[in-house]
Subunit: 98 residues, 2 copies
Amino acid sequence: MFRHVVMFKWNDDVDPAHVEATGAALDALVATIPEVGDYRHGPDLGLSDGNFDYVIVGEYASTDDYVTYRDHPDHQQVIADYIKGRVSARSAVQYDAG
Amino acid sequence: MFRHVVMFKWNDDVDPAHVEATGAALDALVATIPEVGDYRHGPDLGLSDGNFDYVIVGEYASTDDYVTYRDHPDHQQVIADYIKGRVSARSAVQYDAG
């Protein structure tokens, strides 16, 4: 199983309504991109100092399915509308999760 | 379901043997800490420039179970032996994964 994991730190002016709208937009991708498998995302719970603010863990049957998701126009639109220009840090890993 | 997600960038002098040994040490935690649920970790596949090098996604039935894992001496020993002083960047999120 292939996993794509990505974290963000939001800019200081990003408000909770934007975070909630981002979550809804991400959820909608599961309906429109059949190559997306298990897809679980959400805000940091605030248990630890220094954490990033948001994480997405997506599962795909193959690297090709991940690339289809990555390059899908609906996914790119979510990035453009909700993420690009709104984050101060990003970290990502793609890995073989067994 | 509670998830703890953490990524690292290794220092330049960390070699593949160290990465493999870290993976084995992490796998051993599942056997010794019963509060750990699904636990899948591994190195970045190298598909994307700028990615972090390693990710761990751990699942726990509750925040309390995560805290038991976090503070467990076997986990702290893995951090001391394999991670502390060996990484140039770290990012983490704990979240409610539904």
